[in-house]
Symmetry: C2
Subunit: 228 residues, 2 copies
DNA sequence: TCTCGACATTGATATTAATCAACTATTTTA
DNA sequence: TAAAATAGTTGATTAATATCAATGTCGAGA
């Protein structure tokens, strides 16, 4: 982790959103964003830690995960540039309910929650957006709950692959996560993750070359993902 | 389901909260709460259905659950008088992410969301509360996610019993749910639910007499619940 | 009171997925 | 570059839980 000086961040969504409103309200000078750089594997925020800022990923991938019992992790999301951390908890929780760790070197932009809170205290539109995002969080986690509990490993891996395809916005992508982490995304063991991937390959549903994955038969993946 | 006329609801928390603010803002007359009665087993709201009101349980128990694949259910919460339905989704989601069904005959108070929204549009305090409640929802479901995925059935049943003890606010309570539903609360089969209950009884951790359950050794239950 | 149906219980079996063990391939680092 | 660490793979075994089958119990209603 390193604070970066003299960063010019043209396309920082957090700054844009907040910057515009703060200027509108003449509170522009309060923002003082910090640009923070994390090396691969570094922790960006830790489950149980105090939330005191809103962070947006500018560059690099990160994983949002929860540490369960026996230090077994479940990955909730893969974060890509423009994704927020912490904002979902503004006014909500004092502590992070999850951890975030860098999968690659990550550049972030962080703004203190006090500043955001003061600016948005009377901004109904922003609060609505925040609530909306909360609602979707609840909905996503409920979906995950059902998947993990009721789908078999083939369905869970298929779902994860389809999810990653959406995240990377292509049917052909290079994984930023290990097989173990792909397992944690589906909440199954590393070994079974590999086995299912191999099966899918042999069934000509996907192509694998190391971390390069190509979804060949999306139709089949969707069908497998929906079966329980 | 039956709309009840001429109900006097002295201790309706929804009405109180909203009533006070609406009076403050001179919008009292917009509320028009409906008092609705549901017979045991009736659906109070259905997963995927449009959310157009906020409902508070005045009397009776209900279950909040999600229907997964193969119409297998997972119960998220048991609702008791004073618990809200739908409010958590105000501004958030257009559709219910869960269903609620009456476990007993239930009396409810329902207020149209449009009315609440207009009253609270500029009420920062209420929005904060709403966000706070959202944060806790996320947090609770994440906990459930970890439990279901990483705890064994003994731990999950122990956790459910401790949860029910909190809901019913006593170490000795009469279940409002069947064994099957107790299983759905722990996301395990009915048969294994019975087996674990019987084991707990033989280990003198609980006493069972039909639907009457007494938690004898809470210490042990907590320990079992925390083991993975 | 009898019967039906929902609920509860128990044992046997099958299935699923985790774990263990061994090994190969690929990166990192000294 | 060699050695060590990390990542990926495969097979065998074990453990956990679901499912199936049978039976018991209780209350509501004819």
């Amino acid at each position: 982790m390193r604070i970066e000086k003299n960063v010019k961040c043209e396309d920082c969504p957090l700054k844009c959103d907040i910057y515009l409103t703060s200027r509108e309200m003449g509170m522009e000078s309060m923002l003082n964003p910090a640009y923070v750089y994390y090396k691969k594997f570094e922790t960006i925020c830790r489950q149980g830690g105090k939330i005191d800022n809103s962070t947006v990923i500018l560059k690099g991938n990160a994983k949002m995960f929860v540490s369960g019992h026996c230090s077994r992790n479940i990955i909730l999301n893969i974060l890509i540039p423009s994704n927020y951390i912490g904002l979902v908890s503004l006014y909500g929780l004092p502590d992070y309910p999850y951890s975030v760790a860098a999968l690659e070197d990550c550049h972030t932009c962080q703004i203190n929650n006090d500043a955001i809170e003061q600016i948005y205290q009377k901004n109904e539109h922003f609060m609505k957006l925040l609530n909306h995002s909360f609602g979707h969080s609840v909905s996503n986690i409920i979906d995950k709950l059902i998947s993990l509990n009721q789908k078999h490993i083939r369905g869970r891996v298929a779902e994860s692959l389809l999810y990653l395809s959406k995240v990377y916005d292509s049917e052909c992508f290079k994984l930023t996560i290990t097989r173990r982490e792909l397992g944690e995304l589906s909440a199954i063991s590393e070994e079974n993750t590999v086995r299912v991937l191999t099966d899918f390959k042999n069934e000509n549903i996907i192509n694998i070359d190391g971390r390069e994955i190509e979804l060949v038969d999306i139709e089949a993946l969707s069908r497998i993902s929906l079966n329980c």
